[in-house]
């Protein structure tokens, strides 16, 4: 398929475990975003990549959250020592344009539902 894909779709982790969430953006898309969506809320921005450069990580809630996109395509969001409040759907989105070069549309993946027990 040509859309954004994420894996796993569901992840159950015990408190204290580390997790890694993967995002495959649309081929050729420059911008990649991670969002956290708690139950009943809109998605909240976590971090933004332009190609392999992480230009903004101001939304990451703590230093337990780490994201990378080493080759400018696939991205991984890692959460260390998971806590119950990390339970949420993690959405990845990609866009063909760089931010600031024109309005753009973000294409979202299906998300990963993380449940921390």
């Amino acid at each position: 398929g040509a859309g954004v894909s994420q894996s796993p779709r569901y992840k159950v982790a015990k408190r204290g475990q580390d997790v890694a969430l993967r995002c495959d953006p649309i081929s050729g898309h420059v911008s990649l975003f991670w969002y956290q969506q708690a139950l009943g809320q809109g998605p909240e921005f976590l971090t933004y990549f332009q190609n392999e450069a992480q230009l903004d990580k101001s939304g990451l809630p703590s230093d337990r959250f780490f994201a990378e996109r080493p080759e400018g395509s696939v991205s991984t969001l890692k959460i260390q020592r998971t806590q119950q409040e990390d339970s949420a759907v993690y959405l990845c989105a990609s866009s063909r344009n760089n931010l600031g070069t024109g309005s753009y549309e973000q294409y979202f993946g299906p998300g990963t539902r993380l449940t921390v027990t």
């Binding site: 998605p43 230009l55 979202f108």
Partner: protein, 113 residues
């Protein structure tokens, strides 16, 4: 602090009714306002609005932006059960800001047969 406020938070109507969903915003360096429909997990794009007073239409859905009063509405006419979803409003900023989109909490729309 940037804010996007949607109302109502939930709405139940009967099939065939017309609904209007509201989105007001307070953001610095506004560029555009986007509407999304979220049925399962990933929001799907509906409209992008950048100019005041110009209505965008797609079938039974339409939307308009008022940049003076800082709000947008999303209209759905002749609603169908397939329109049941959460409708999200998001605002995009200009310039060097790289914080993606600021989303509202959404309006949960339920269409009863």
């Amino acid at each position: 602090e940037d804010k996007v406020v949607q109302s109502p938070l939930s709405l139940v109507v009967h099939e065939g009714d017309t609904v209007t969903l509201n989105c007001s915003y307070e953001v610095t360096n506004f560029r555009s306002l986007l509407w999304y429909k979220q049925e399962k997990k990933a929001p799907t794009f509906l409209f992008m609005l950048t100019s005041s007073g110009i209505e965008k239409k797609s079938g039974r859905l339409s939307s308009i932006l008022d940049k003076k009063e800082l709000f947008s509405i999303l209209n759905i006419t002749a609603t169908q059960t397939g329109d049941s979803a959460v409708y999200l409003c998001a605002v995009e900023k200009t310039g060097g800001g790289a914080d993606g989109l600021t989303f509202g909490k959404g309006t949960h729309l339920i269409i009863q047969p």
